[in-house]
């Protein structure tokens, strides 16, 4: 029984150098070929959901924002939505808004997404005749888009076309010893082949800044890491409470993690030994330079992986101590654990079990299994959470009040 969840699938074959994806006009490659139905504002959410329910192979992204936000906050929502539309896993996009949201209209979002060369249409519920007529129009357009999308074929591409997302969650003391180390091994293999990986979770760099700064290719990048962690800590201090309880969380502490420093030093094992080539704000698109990219995100798993998806990742390794259901609706999310108890309790959503590390298996043996899973999932194999529609982790980070 202990050998389920993909264990025992190891092989002595050479490391795979390619995967099968959907090449896009702008040079990106999708691991999925979804029609994305993207909501511009909360009042368009039900219309998006109706359209996506009707159309097979479509995904709706809905959220409570896009309205009555100010300045940098509405800009953040806008960039997140644009980033998801531009993500290569979306083959075509329909953006739906309600009436007019200044700075975040469906037309403006669609305009930015169109720069990738993919087909995108904007629907406005008011102008298109109300909820029912707008649903009908979007459904009809979406059906034609899907006829085209489903006629496209995957092509063999290099690992260099991968932007691998890295995130951990419900961490415990096994995280820094097992699954995060296996993830770090995968990061190194992807980067060695000219690919990219994207590390996030600024709160979980607190106490490990120096380790990350030493990996930076330029001292200025290291300074940016120190600065972004400092800004996060300043926001925490301004709350006037002990961070402990929020970070590490209750389940982190139950899992034996005593302080944020301990959690961080385990979390940054996901970085492996790859050089850090860029440090970017929340939801910004990662540049094309091979190496490890670092994004400034909170430790909140849903917000963090939403930032990573907006940054362009097609596939993400979510490495977890407690086991997890987390799944981004657009970016394939592979959950792995090295905690033997969690592998059993959360087997329903654990894609790769690396508990053999605690039985003495070398990190590269477990890492190899995760690497193979990454390329298989990138090539179309569904994760357990994709099969279960466990679409719980699209969460836009905020930096301002509702007004």
């Amino acid at each position: 029984m202990a050998r389920r969840n993909g264990r025992g699938a190891s092989s002595s074959k050479r490391l795979r150098k390619t995967w099968w994806g959907y090449p896009r006009e702008n040079g990106d490659v999708g691991a999925r070929n979804y029609l994305l139905v993207l909501s511009g504002t909360l009042y368009a959410n039900p219309t998006c959901e109706r359209v996506a329910r009707t159309l097979r192979h479509s995904v709706a992204l809905t959220h409570p924002l896009g309205r009555c936000q100010i300045g940098p906050d509405i800009q953040r929502t806008f960039e997140t939505l644009v980033g998801h539309g531009q993500n290569a896993n979306a083959g075509a996009v329909i953006v739906i808004d309600h009436h007019r949201e200044e700075g975040c209209t469906a037309d403006e979002i669609a305009h930015e997404i169109a720069k990738t060369g993919k087909r995108v249409e904007a629907i406005n519920i008011r102008e298109d005749g109300g909820a029912i007529d707008a649903t009908a129009k979007a459904t009809r357009i979406g059906m034609e888009m899907l006829r085209e999308l489903t006629n496209e074929r995957r092509q063999e591409v290099s690992v260099s076309k991968l932007l691998l997302g890295l995130n951990c969650g419900t961490s415990d003391t096994t995280s820094g010893l097992s699954h995060n180390k296996a993830t770090g091994w995968v990061t190194d293999q992807v980067v060695k082949q000219g690919g990219r990986a994207l590390l996030a979770e600024t709160t979980e760099m607190m106490g490990g800044e120096g380790v990350l700064a030493d990996k930076c290719v330029r001292p200025a990048l290291g300074k940016r890491i120190w600065r972004m962690v400092e800004e996060m800590e300043e926001r925490i201090l301004a709350c006037g409470v002990d961070l402990r309880g929020s970070q590490p969380t209750g389940d982190n502490m139950e899992g034996g993690l005593t302080t944020i420093e301990e959690k961080s030093l385990g979390a940054i094992q996901k970085a492996g030994s790859a050089p850090i080539v860029d440090v970017i704000p929340w939801a910004k698109r990662a540049n094309r330079r091979s190496g490890l990219h670092v994004m400034d995100t909170p430790g909140h798993g849903g917000e963090s992986i939403t930032g990573i998806a907006a940054g362009g990742s097609q596939v993400l390794i979510f490495s977890t101590g407690g086991g997890h259901t987390i799944n981004h609706p657009l970016m394939s999310t592979i959950r792995i654990t090295g905690n033997p108890l969690s592998a059993r309790l959360q087997a329903d959503t654990t894609d790769v079990d690396v508990t053999d590390i605690f039985e003495g298996a070398p990190i590269e043996v477990a890492g190899r299994r995760v690497y193979d899973e990454v390329l298989e999932v990138a090539s179309g194999k569904m994760t357990k959470a994709e099969i279960l529609h466990e679409d719980n982790a699209f969460a836009i980070n905020r930096n301002g009040p509702s007004v």
Binding site: T173, L177, D242, G256, T259, I260, E261
Partner: protein, 97 residues
């Protein structure tokens, strides 16, 4: 049968117990896959929690991964259970401002 406890870096103050340990139970230390000496747990230690392997005076930094994971809030002896009751974080302490 002693419970295995993993040390990450030589010089660390703590090791992670891979099974729960009863009070007085024995714990065998492991570093880089090699088994080392055996300790007695002074208190019960829950599943995957930490045991002290190098004593700490109040105010000293507790080392894991070769780096500080916080500060001892009281003196800690070898074999003691280490967690939130005797280690404080040095970061994000808005309560101390």
């Amino acid at each position: 049968m002693p419970v295995t406890a993993m040390i990450i870096e030589e010089g660390d103050n703590v090791a992670t117990c891979l099974e729960k340990v009863a009070k007085g139970g024995s714990v065998r230390l492991m570093l880089n896959g090699k088994m080392g000496k055996t300790l007695k747990a002074n208190q019960a230690i829950p599943y995957i929690h930490k045991i002290c392997i190098k004593p700490l005076k109040k105010g000293e930094h507790c080392m894991k991964y070769g780096l500080s994971i916080g500060v001892a809030s009281k003196d800690i002896k070898v074999g003691d259970y280490i967690h939130v009751h005797n280690i404080e974080s040095a970061r994000g302490r808005g309560d101390l401002e």
